[in-house]
């Protein structure tokens, strides 16, 4: 694939730092080389000597002197090498990408920073980006600042509709713009905010359309480990025969959100643009965070990781079940919803209201229930939306029951309020 056409003008001007290029000399150097090139602080002066963490179940992990030292010093911009190698092995195992030999992987400061830098790399203002509608609100926030041309594609219970995608792309191409449709963004598993999963056949249809219009696919998949049934849904990466997928993985839902560690897999010419931007900004992803996750995964092995994922899925499945129970008890006839097969969100539609924003933002807190209004996720946020997004990750079943009871009352009041106004 010719990747140069996808790179924004700004990104095309990024160059590696001279010092990082000089570091290549260290790869095969003689032991008598005196290295005075990098501005590394002397780690002898860092005040930390030893670190131990206790895992669930009581097991202790003590970082060796070398490992802690690595955790406290600057590291490579694309990630701590043992950790990257570990992640590559896992990605190869889970996805068997058809072009694995031509792919690479970098660590990012949370997967969202990877996405943000991918957009900076790809988009000039005149370019088109395809998004599902509704879409993850932070992604829309990123786009609102870059202000590219947005191709919004309506969704059904599997996500983006291929027929609408096709016609929207045709419209974009014939619009006379100097820009080109460059990328397509989606969250294929437990989509934020709708909670839907895209089926295998639908994924293949979308991939085929991306091929036809030569788009980069931004596969944002933070909930891939939070799936409640055993149905295997192949990732876009696993069907990527062209090398057009940038896949964004996250540890935020399964190991830690605060450590800020995610990773991106894809074609090296595209990863390069993200890495160069990282080099100029954070310099490298947080080393201690990478070291800890690497030690954890090593200590677990494949079996331990599988068990942890199974435990998490069990927990969130029970949370989902409690949430559905609460919805059925209090919101039958008031709202509609699709039961999510994974993740942490339910997307609710209020049957007798045209918009939920004022109700939730102005009156929700007083009514002791806060959900996110659907408008926040719509590409055109000026249009009314009867939807709401509820997260069931951090509330107890009792709180869910109470919350849905409060929500039912809030909606009733709102319907009465609307009818007195009309």
């Amino acid at each position: 694939m010719d990747y140069s056409k996808f790179i924004s003008k700004l990104s095309s001007r990024r160059k590696p730092s001279c010092i990082s290029e000089l570091r290549r000399a260290l790869d095969n150097c003689s032991p008598s080389l005196v290295w005075l090139a990098s501005g590394m602080p002397n780690p002898e002066k860092f005040p930390f000597r030893e670190m131990t963490v206790t895992l669930e179940g009581g097991k202790k992990l003590t970082l060796s002197k070398e490992t802690l030292s690595a955790g406290l010093q600057y590291g490579p911009s694309h990630g701590y090498l043992p950790f990257r190698n570990q992640l590559k092995r896992m990605v190869e195992q889970w996805h068997a990408p058809p072009r694995w030999a031509e792919s690479d992987l970098i660590v990012t400061v949370g997967n969202q920073d990877g996405i943000s830098k991918a957009l900076d790399m790809l988009l000039d203002p005149e370019d088109f980006i395809v998004v599902p509608d509704p879409c993850y609100s932070d992604f829309l926030c990123m786009l609102s600042s870059l202000a590219p041309q947005i191709v919004a594609v309506s969704v059904d219970d599997q996500g983006m509709r291929p027929d609408i995608l096709q016609s929207a792309l045709e419209k974009a191409i014939s619009s006379g713009s100097t820009g080109i449709p460059k990328a397509l963004y989606l969250v294929p598993n437990s989509c934020n905010p709708t909670g839907t999963n895209m089926g295998e056949e639908r994924r293949q249809e979308i991939y085929a359309i991306a091929q036809q219009y030569d788009l980069i696919i931004l596969e944002d998949d933070p909930y891939c480990f939070l799936q409640f049934n055993d149905k295997y849904l192949p990732s876009f990466l696993s069907m990527d025969v062209d090398g057009r997928v940038l896949r964004f993985d996250s540890f935020s839902k399964v190991v830690s959100s605060g450590l800020r560690i995610g990773f991106v897999t894809g074609p090296p010419p595209l990863l390069q643009g993200i890495t160069l931007h990282m080099q100029a900004s954070c310099i490298c992803p947080p080393m201690l965070s990478q070291v800890l996750i690497h030690e954890l995964l090593t200590s677990w092995g494949d079996e331990g990781f599988k068990k942890h994922i199974s435990d998490i899925c069990q927990f969130y499945k029970e949370q989902r079940d409690a949430m559905i129970q609460a919805l059925k008890t209090h919101l039958t006839g008031i709202c509609e919803w699709i039961v999510p097969e994974g993740g942490i969100f339910v997307w609710l539609k209020v049957l007798h209201l045209s918009d939920t924003s004022a109700m939730l933002l102005e009156r929700g807190a007083k009514g002791d229930i806060v959900l996110v209004p659907g408008r926040e996720f719509m590409v055109d946020s000026t249009k009314p939306s009867p939807y709401m997004r509820a997260a069931y990750s951090c509330v107890t079943p009792e709180e869910m029951m109470k919350g849905m009871e409060n929500l039912a009352k809030l909606i009733q009041k709102e319907i009465e309020l609307q009818s007195t106004h009309t």
């Binding site: 001007r13 602080p41 963490v53 406290l72 400061v109 954070c282 807190a365 996110v372």
Partner: protein, 349 residues
């Protein structure tokens, strides 16, 4: 000061993320509120329970389960609140910014990420940038894609020369360009202490002259100061920072823990006028979300354990170490590289 003239269109376009704003509702809400608006994962499912760090002085930092949750869960974009408070107190103590009430602070993933976001906030392709010359390569890497028109300002063994700065800006009449948005320099970048790569520091009188010129031409001063704590000499003799003389509220200051606590933790902080720090917060909100939480908690706990006395005792020890290193380096240079004007003795680094 009017700050909108310094912002790129992209930065002006930034809006707060509603979901993050909604989290503020929790602060004012009744205990009965059922909050289902955030997309937080359940931290009880994270596999790390507790931790312990032994310091080189033998003391230990304990990360008990509640503190571990703070290390592992999403946090506020401006930073872990206890650390933000500590850093604000430290900044006020060290610099007494004259317009402190109009300033704010954000913890960043290393000071360079703060600098990168500040430059991305203000520089559009082709804009003028006033910098010291030679300049830190990291800053040049940030700027390179923007193809800026550099106004490189030469210096001597006392850093940037105010006369050279005046000369470079003399093409414009200050009263004509003060409020102009396009085609005029608006940003001045400087390492006041132990400049990278020259190692030289600006004495007080030069800083005041440079500030005055920046004020005349309405420039934002980017004070990039990662070697502040490892300046050689007595702390009471440190020359005042640009932040400490910032009567106009035009300084964005970048501080770092990389040289004294750890570079790998990726913790730095930015102090500046509220409207500009807010733009950086909005950018962080949609990119990395916040500086790594565990790193922030560790730095906070360490500062708490040490107190001011322990902290300055540590920075003094680091400073003493690098002074020995400098002296050894000079000896080696004098032995093998002697010749007139071959090198400058760095006053600080």
């Amino acid at each position: 000061m009017k700050y909108s003239r310094f912002l790129t269109q992209v930065s002006r376009n930034r809006q707060p993320s509603l979901i993050r704003e909604m989290t503020n509702l929790l602060a004012q809400a009744s205990p009965e509120l059922v909050f289902m608006a955030g997309g937080l994962p359940n931290a009880q499912m994270f596999p790390f329970q507790a931790g312990s760090i032994t310091l080189k002085d033998g003391r230990a930092l304990t990360i008990h389960p509640k503190l571990m949750m703070d290390c592992l869960q999403y946090g506020p974009t401006p930073g872990y609140p206890p650390l933000v408070k500590q850093l604000k107190d430290l900044t006020q103590q060290l610099h007494s910014p004259p317009r402190w009430a109009e300033m704010d602070l954000i913890v960043t993933a290393g000071s360079q990420d703060g600098l990168c976001k500040a430059l991305e906030m203000m520089i559009s392709p082709g804009d003028y940038v006033v910098t010291q010359e030679p300049c830190y390569t990291g800053t040049l890497s940030i700027l390179k894609p923007y193809k800026p028109r550099y106004l490189p300002i030469s210096g001597d063994q006392n850093g940037m020369c105010p006369e050279a700065l005046k000369a470079a800006l003399s093409k414009w009449k200050p009263e004509e360009v003060q409020d102009t948005e396009k085609d005029v320099p608006k940003v001045l970048y400087v390492n006041p202490n132990a400049c990278n790569p020259t190692g030289v520091s600006l004495p007080e009188d030069r800083r005041q002259e440079i500030y005055k010129i920046a004020s005349e031409y309405n420039l934002i001063i980017l004070e990039d100061d990662p070697y502040y704590f490892v300046q050689f000499g007595d702390r009471k003799d440190f020359p005042p920072s640009f932040l400490s003389m910032d009567v106009d509220c035009r300084v964005i200051r970048f501080d770092s823990f990389s040289k004294i606590l750890s570079s790998g933790l990726r913790i730095g902080y930015v102090t500046g006028p509220k409207p500009l720090v807010e733009r950086i917060v909005l950018h962080a909100q949609v990119s990395l979300l916040h500086a790594p939480a565990m790193s922030q908690v560790l730095v906070s706990e360490l500062l708490k354990l040490w107190g001011d006395e322990g902290f300055f005792k540590h920075t003094d020890a680091v400073q003493a170490f690098y002074l020995d290193q400098r002296n050894a380096m000079l000896e080696a240079a004098e032995k093998h590289l002697s010749g007139p004007d071959l090198f400058t003795v760095p006053l600080c680094h």
